[in-house]
Structures are given as structure tokens and as C-alpha cells.
Assembly symmetry: D3
Homo-oligomer: 241 residues x 6
């Protein structure tokens, strides 16, 4: 029996996605994975970073932040320390890479999709929840472009879904809540496509190193978990493909 009442290591928390949560951006969701809640928005800008100018290619850029009250202890805003939190820097690079893997950037054209992920309540797994919510927002924003006739073909190449996993008390668990995460010996975040291929694998054995057989089990569990998550994503979106 897990801390929050789940009965198996494989069981995921309830995933709830509310689309069109904010009225201005082309895509926006409130995504909830258990008690973790993130507002993800996607806004389209008609220009690209310097290195892509004139290339015909678009870009997907992600930012990640937490409200000060999203955790048990108040987190000082980055602007008060004049520094982007190192952890946030790491996470938003992960989100950006993961979502770009879902998009044919050529088909997007010279546009940037800005994905903003703001965690309003954190209970473990905020980065993977941001990827899942960011994907829906991105999908909707691209859908707006399609329905406006601005794109010749759909730039979404495949769905992506993400899950966190870990080893706690030598047991492999999926979708850790904060209480489990804070005691985890091993921490893993995995992003997969709808074809079941790996986009990102980030594993940290800061507590203890990971045996090869555990690694295989973790990856296998990730595959199954993300299959479920992408299933829910497709359902929520009434999948257009």
C-alpha cells in the first residue's frame, strides 16, 4: 500500500486535464496529476530565435516556474534573487527538448511556440506533468494555426507523454508523490512517443547506484505508464489524426 493509498507500484495517480483554462493563449490547460497542478500555456509568436532566421524552421521554447506557495515552504521568486533557479533551468531545457521531439519544425514554419509551465501546487512529478500539459497546450495551439489555414500540413509528428519513476525502499514505483520522491534512492523521468520510442531518459542514482536489471525494469514500467498517459491525452483531445 503506497503513501497516498495506491495499491501497486505501477498505479498512476488520477490525471485530469482542463483545456482552454486561460482565455488569451492559443492553447492552455490546467493539468492535475494527483495533487500536482500545473498551468501550461502555448502562445505563438511570429518570429524565431536568431539561429533559425531565414531557415524556414520554427521553434518550441519552454519555461518552467513555481508559484512561491506551491510547496510547503515558501519559495523566494527568482527575480528576488536575480537568478533563475538552477533546477528550473534544467527542467525547462528538458521540457523544450521533449516537446520539440513531437513537432516537425519545418512544417511549423518560422514561428516560435512559447510553452509556459507554472506549477501552482507541487506534489511530485512536476516536470513530467509539465511535459504532458505542455503537449496538450502545444497541440491546441497548433490546432488553432491549422484551423486558421496558416499551415499546409499538421506539424505534430507524434504524441509525447512523460512519467516519473523511482526506487523507494528498493521497490520500483511509477508516478511518485512528493512523500515518495523525497525518500527515493533512485529518481527517473522518461519521455516516450506514441510509437513507444524513447525521447528522453533522465536517471539519477544519487542515493544509490542502479543495477542493470533494475534499469530494464524501470524502462519497461515507463513504457507501460506512458502508454496509459498518451491514451488519456488522445481521449482528452478527441485525437484529430
Amino acid at each position: 500500500m503506497r503513501y497516498d493509498g495506491r495499491e501497486t507500484g505501477e498505479e498512476l495517480r488520477q490525471l485530469k486535464i482542463t483545456r482552454d483554462f486561460i482565455k488569451y493563449p492559443q492553447g492552455s490547460v490546467l493539468i492535475e496529476m494527483g495533487d500536482t497542478k500545473v498551468i501550461c500555456t502555448a502562445m505563438i509568436e511570429d518570429k524565431v530565435p536568431q539561429f533559425l532566421k531565414g531557415s524556414g524552421s520554427g521553434w518550441v521554447s519552454a519555461q518552467y516556474a513555481m508559484l512561491p506557495a506551491a510547496n510547503a515552504t515558501r519559495k523566494q521568486r527568482d527575480i528576488d534573487r536575480l537568478k533563475l533557479d538552477g533546477r528550473s533551468a534544467e527542467i525547462q531545457r528538458l521540457i523544450g527538448r521533449s516537446l520539440r521531439a513531437a513537432v516537425d519544425l519545418k512544417a511549423l514554419g518560422e514561428r516560435t511556440v512559447w510553452i509556459d509551465c507554472d506549477v501552482i501546487q507541487a506534489d511530485g512529478g512536476t516536470r513530467v506533468t509539465s511535459i504532458n500539459g505542455g503537449f496538450i497546450a502545444l497541440y491546441d495551439a497548433v490546432g488553432t494555426l491549422i484551423s486558421e489555414g496558416a499551415l499546409r500540413r499538421d506539424p505534430i509528428k507524434n504524441f509525447v507523454g512523460a512519467v516519473s519513476l523511482g526506487i523507494v525502499d528498493d521497490e520500483i514505483l511509477a508516478d511518485l508523490c512528493y512523500h515518495e520522491d523525497s525518500r527515493a534512492q533512485v529518481d527517473m523521468n522518461v519521455v516516450l512517443t506514441s510509437a513507444g520510442e524513447f525521447v528522453e531518459v533522465q536517471t539519477t542514482g544519487e542515493g544509490r547506484a542502479i543495477r542493470r536489471d533494475e534499469m530494464s525494469k524501470l524502462l519497461e514500467l515507463a513504457e507501460g505508464s506512458v502508454r496509459q498517459i498518451i491514451g488519456i491525452e488522445k481521449e482528452v483531445l478527441g485525437y484529430r489524426k
Copy 2:
């Protein structure tokens, strides 16, 4: 007939307050004034700024920010410009002063209540909505201290409520939505106590200057509007006094 369908200049938009919106802070609300939506949280810290150390007095400190997608055009995060937005600096000072006017800081003891106001959707009046939401969060946070037996007496001296007003096409309006606000000749924000006394008046006639008789009408309209708002606040809180 007003832009969003209201029929008179006095009519306020619907005010909706959802308490306990975030699970960690001692007080938290989602406050909605029409389409303006702000998450306001109150967290208590057991220390005070340098200038109050050893004074026996507490403090209320406010911060105000906007999600990048809260407006029609994406707003770059402060940390990306390494500067707190000047408008945010001005607003959070206003929120702080307004809420401190509601509290007997001696009765609070040497504690800081951190009020964080994060606008998730902006449609005019974000600063007054933050004050109203911040007050509820503050009230609930102080309530937690009281129920824990940490305070000898209730430090809430009086309710505060806030409203925005303006002159648009030479007509006086209460609670401007963004469309009205962007065309206003005169802009006013007023904070009052439950005793009907003024805490803050901020008027700007950048479009055109304000005649004395208009000033009187604006202040009168503010009194009536805030009376309604404080009425709703009391109802929502099941007023403990």
C-alpha cells in the same frame, strides 16, 4: 450598455472567491472578478524584516506578478529581463500598504505574512482584485494562527475592500474591464475599510485632468462599490467577528 453587457456605470462584475485553492499555504484563494483571475496565497514566516526585529510587531509583505500568458500578448518573465517590472513594483507596494491597514501588527506578533498575488488571467482591475483576494487569504492565514492558539487576540482590525474606477468617454464607471480600461481618460483605484473610511486613493488623469466635482462622484461611487465587495467578502468568510 457597457462593453461586457453591464447596464450601468455602477454595476460590478461577478465576484467569485474560491477558498483553500492551494493546499500548502495557511490561506489561499482563487479570486475572479469577471474574467480577471488571481491566485492569492498567504504564508506565515516566523521572522520579520530587519527594521522590526525585537519590536514585537509583525509585518505583511505583498508580491504581485503575472503569468506570461495572462494577457493577449505574452509578457516576458521578470527574471529574463533581470528586472522587476516597474508596474509590478508599484502595485505590490500598494497591496502591502492596503493589507497592513487591515491588521494590528502588534497583535500579529513578530511574524511576517507573505501575500503572493499571481494573476493568471488579466481583464482589468488586477491590482484591486489582488487586494480583495489577498485580504481573504490573509484573513484565513490569521485564522489558522488563532485556531492554533498562537495569538492572544485577533489582529484583523477591519475588513478592506478595493475597487477600480475610471472615466471613459466622460462617463464615470466602476470596475473597468480591460476594454474600458484601455480607453479610460482617468483611472482610479480606491481601498476602503468596512467602516467606510479610505485606506488608499490612487487617481491618475494621464488622459485628461479631473474636475473637483468628478473627484467627488468617483469617491462616492467607490464607497458604494467597496461596500458591496466587503459584503461579499464577509459572506464568503462567514464573518467570524
Copy 3:
């Protein structure tokens, strides 16, 4: 009898304006209101902020700072904390709005007038003294443009004048010195035009809230005080209109 020897609440301190205080800017004054001394300069730049490019309109932008030794306790420079002081941010926005209310920005053409207000000695009322001094500097800078034949018509729409007021020991006072200001229950800053209309009203009842009748008396006192101040401004300038 007031702290600095003034005999009534209405009495203003001596206002002294020295024009052409610095040789480079198109307009510059040393303004002294009692012991409060501010250097105000106006420099014209032949470009405008991004949002005005191509609009044909000009802009007036203000900055406010204090020398470290302007107060009894040395104030660390902003650059040493890497943050613009929140109070300065608030004040310079007030100065900018107040001075823009004096100018027909269309008539100014695509130019920015930079108003720099540097307090060299602070004894209460630095923000209103900055507005008064900034107006004279602005007037002189615009005068330079006129005499150079660069403008078709005078962009100065009206004079503006500003005064601080407060309630100290339940008594209403105009033009508070620092000693009075530090004990004030209520603090007000008012900017009016030469037509006696209100440009800015900023009132704070952080010490105690303000009754409606007090509000009226404060506004009335402000009207009279600013009338005197604008009188002195006109005299100093040998009013060109």
C-alpha cells in the same frame, strides 16, 4: 506652531528655483523646498520608445534617485544591490505620468524628454518637489526646441504643480517636512494643473484610515497649495504664454 517654525498647517516652506543649474541639458534646475533639494534636468533625445515608433507622438520619461548622503542614514546605491529601489520605481512612474499630463505629446513630435530628478538633500516631499522642478526643466527644454524652430506649436498644454499633505496628530498639514512626515498617520501627494484640475491624487492611510470629510479638506488644501506653487513657477519662468 510646526516643527520647523511654520505657524499654520497651510503654510508652505520657501520654494527656491535656480534655472540653468547644469550646463549640458536643455533644461535644468536646482529646486529647494525648505531643506529638500533636488537637481532636475531635462534632456531631449530624438527617438521614442518602441511602442511609439512611427506614431508621430513624443514621450516624457522620468527617473528619480537619491544621493547616498541625502538622508540621515547612508542609502546604499541601487547598483550595489542590483535592484532599483521599489520606492524609486513607484515615484518615477508618478513623476512621468504627472509631467506627461502637461504636454501635448503629438505636438512634441517623435522625441523623448528625459527628466532626471536626483535628490541631493531630503527633508520631506521629495517626489512633489521633483515634479515641480521637473516641470520647470521640461518647460525650459521645450523652450529650447521652440526657439530653435523645431516645433510648430508649443506642446506645453498647462502648468502642473504638486504638493504633499498629511494628517499628523489628527491635524491636516501641507508640505510636510521629514519630521512631520515620519509621524504622519495619513500621507497624500496631489498634482494639479493650472486650471485647478487634478492630475494625480495618491493617498495612503497606512497609520489610520481617512474619513470622507478629511478627504475633502485635504483635497481643498491641495488646491490652494498648488495654486501658490504654480504662481511661483510662472513667476520664475516669466511665463511665456
Copy 4:
């Protein structure tokens, strides 16, 4: 045949480690992996971060930077942009986690070992080369503490070694040089212990997603490569255990 003349995908570039490269720090190396050159230093400070004070535990903190001329295009210094490069932030967190996995922090006592990795010439694999060089510097710094009698037992739990891998033109390669790296479809960095267990796995399929069988081959190749690297580390150190 690979770009730099290596004959197989498994072949590593020459690894050269010069100990005691800088005279002040307790540990320091110049590490060269082909043309990638990094100065890694380890300095011991007799205090720990706030969250460890009084815990009896020590800490290992890493920083990563590049000289402006380490790449073909000059890289502006972080201080000129006033921002830590996001990539550097990500990398130094990886180095810190990897090296902490080599140390029994309790046995280290309340000390911080500062690992500074400064890339003086970059030709692919700078992060893994930093981990390998940082480990040697850390080992030597800890050795100084041991020889001074400051530690009761050796806090080094195990060796760590790191390697980069990738898929280029659908071929799996170990230890990519810059030319290979810039064309890689898949990018992986793996850190293992001397016991052959995984400390960190970071895989990115930004170019294309990774099949499960490729993932297995990559991990297997990582195991073999790091075994060689740790072999060289032990030789260089005349392994004290």
C-alpha cells in the same frame, strides 16, 4: 572509419590526466579526452550549505564553465550577460550529483568539496570529461584530508566514470567528438560506478526517438566504455584501495 580516424564505434579517444596541475587546490588535474581539455580542481572548505548545518554530513558542489575561446566561436562570458548559461546550469548539476554518488558524505564530515571544471578547449564530451577529471581532483583532495589525519575513514565509496554516446547516421558511437556530436540524432551521457552500476543516464532523442533495442545497446556500450575509463583512473591514481 570515424571523422577523427578512429576505426570502430566503440573506440575511445586518448584519455590523458595530469595531476597537480594547479598548486593551490588540494586536488587538481588537466584532463584531456582527445582534443577536449578541462581543468578540474577540488578545494575543501570547512563549512556546508545551510540545509546541512549540524547534520554531520558534508557536500560536494560542482561548477562548470568554458573559457570564451574554448570553441570555434567566441562565447560571451556569463557575467557579461548577467546570467548563468542554462546549459552550464544543467551540466554542473549533473557533475555535482555524479560526484556525490562517489562519496560517503557522512564520512566526509561537515566540509564542502568545491569542484570547478573549466573547459579550456571543447571538442565534444566536455561534461563527461569534467566528471572524470572532477573525480580525480576529488579523490586527491580527499586523499589530502586522509594524509592529514582529518578523517577517520576514507569517504570514497566507489570510483565513478562517465562517457558520452550517440547515434550518428543510425550508428551507435562512443565518445563523440564535436563533429560527430553536432550531427548526432541521439545524444547520451552515462555515469557508472566501478561496480558497473548506473549513477546517471541522460538520453536525448531530439533528432529522432530511440527504439528499445537501441537503448539496450547504448547502455551496454556505456558499461564497456566506462569500465575502460575507470581502469585508466585507477592506474593514474595508483589506486589506494
Copy 5:
């Protein structure tokens, strides 16, 4: 005949020193060297930098800045660029070293004297004028301590005076105005004690290098010029020694 009417290369501009220019600091002057005008203040703080704590020694710390309108072109404030101007950094280090050379830091006791030099109008020689003005402010601040009985002996060891020199059109000139300075091939700033010994010599031959015989003539001219300046300083102060 020089640009500003002086008849010889040795002739100095008029030096005017107004003491007690600002009412709060223990020492303050407005110093004018021709059209160069600097406000120099000295404030005493009862603590010292970290490296002097417990040493019994005091410190003199200097800061240098310019008002935006002090030059023909408006200078953006440091805080707007978030960087201390490199030239200011260099100058304030020079001022600090020069003034510390005038003080027996042991006799000062564990106090810091903060010297703030704010250039309100620049016409060449602002750094040496700051040193001269800073010395008077320092002397007066120390005099306050002496008259309060806070010091057992006078910490002023000797007077210091400073002058700028240069080579313009191959002619050696003292006390360059801006017009001369902007065309100088060689630029020199020299600080001497009242005993005629050198405290600082800063020479730059960026336009052309300096022959040994020119160097001797420059140093000789510096000696004579500073002798005059220290003469004026003594007169202004009614020299207490």
C-alpha cells in the same frame, strides 16, 4: 592660449570649495574645478569590512558616479544596465586608495568612512576633483569625530591633492578641460601628499607613448600643481594642524 582662455600650460582652473553643502553627512563639499562640479560627502559608519573585523583598524571606502545629465550626451544610469560602469569601478578604486593614504587607519578605529563622489557637471578632471573634494569631506568628517572626543589622536597623516595632466599637440598641460582631454595624446593623473611625495601616478599613452624626459616634466609639473591645490585646501580648512 588654451581653449578656455588660460595663458600657460601650468595654469590651473579656478578651484572653489563649498563646505557643509549637504546637512546630513559629517563632511560634505561642493567642489568646482572650472566647470567640473562634484558633490563629495563623507559619512561615518561604526563597522568595517569583513577582513578588518577585530583588527582595530578602520577603512575608507569611495564610490564615484555621474548624474545622467553631467555630460553633453545623457549617460544611462548603471542600474538600468545592471552593471557598474567599468570606468567608474576603476575611478572609485583610485579615490579609495588615494584617501586611505591620507589616514592612519589604526588611529581611526573600527569605523568606515564612506566617501561618495557624485559628478553633477563634468568638464575634465572629474577623478582628481573627486579626490580633492573627497579629502576635504573626509577631513571634516574626521574633525567631527575629534570634536566629539571619539578619537584619541588625529588620524589624518597628511594632506593629499590630485591633478590631471596631459600632452596635447605635443605640449604638456596641467588640469585639462574636457576639450583638451578629448584631444590628449597622453593622459596622467597624479596624487601627492603635502610632503611632496607620490601617492598615485596613473599615466596612459594610448595616443602615443611617452618619452622618459616627458615623463620627468609631467611629474615635475604635477608636483607644482598639487602644491598649489594643497595650499588652497589648507586655506579652505583653516588647517587645524
Copy 6:
């Protein structure tokens, strides 16, 4: 007998210059002056600062930094304090001016040569060692332009060389090591051309002031020392002129 075994005050430490130390920049050296070691690189950029655009003139811009472990006590990186170290600011301005004195900027054309000096081990004299190493890197970078046929004439006007000197225990010494430097009463840095003319003289008598006869001896010793250093520079370069 000096601290590091040198027998006379005139004796210089061994000067060792390794060219082509980094493969990417057009010029790069590892320069060692005794135990002081600096990596100096020169990279050419085909644009110039704003104030030179369209002038036909080039620029030489220098940056100076220290690795955290270059001294006995770890030095926090500038980016962690968000401020360029004041001492670094001063030094890099000195390096820039010194190297520009070696170059005919018109002959360089509209290019910037970026000189980066990164001290990897500091044992006194890092700024003069940076100038000497920077000159070699600059010479080589310019040589690359010449050999590519990009320049019509050699922009190197003359060699420059630099040395540090000081007065320790009333004795005049050349090329102080850290141990001597930390006890010096007087500190001097001198840059000369191959024609024996002075480019920069920076003397500080913070410990005690300098007599005129000492000043002459210091300058004379500087001339002889730099003559030796330029001799070595010419030898290392197989002087092309």
C-alpha cells in the same frame, strides 16, 4: 636573497611562453612568469563597437578573469555574485589600453580582436603577465590575418612589454612574487614599447608615499626589465619585422 631564491632586486622570474595552446582562436598562449600562469587568447570578430562603426578603424578589447582555484583561497565566480569584480574591471581596462598602444587601429580595419586573459594560477604580477601574453596572442592573430591576405599592411606598430615592481622593506624589487607583493609598501606596473617609451605607468603608494628619487629608480628599473621581456617576446615570435 629574495623569497623565491632570486639574488637581486632586478632579477626577473623565468618567463615561459607556449604558443598555439588552444586550437580555435587565431592566437593563443600559455604564459608563465614564475608560478603565475595565464591563458591568453586572441579571437577576431568582423565587427566593431558602436562608436567605431563606419570609421574604418578596428578595436582591441580585453577581458581578465581568474579561475576559482587560482589562489590559495577559492574565489567565488563573478556570475555567482552577479558583479564583475572591481579589480578585474580595472585590470581589463589596463590590458585593453596597453595592447591598443601596440596596434595601428586604422590598419587593422573594422575588426575587433578579443583578448581573453584567464589566470589559472596566480603568484603575483598577473596583470603584467596578461599584457605580455595578450601581446603574443594578438601578434599571432594579426599574423593570421596577414597570411590570409586580409590586411594591406601590418597593424603592429611596436612591441609592448610589461613588468610589475614594488618597494618592499624600503628596497626596490622587480617582478614581485605574491609573497613579496603582499608585503609591498609601494606597487607599480609599467608598460613600455620596444622603443623604450612609456605606455602605462600605474603606481600606488597605499602603504607609504614615494619619494621623487625612488620614482626615478623605479622607472629606470622598469625600462631595463621590460627590455629583457620584449627581448624574450621577439625571440619566441621569431620576430617578423
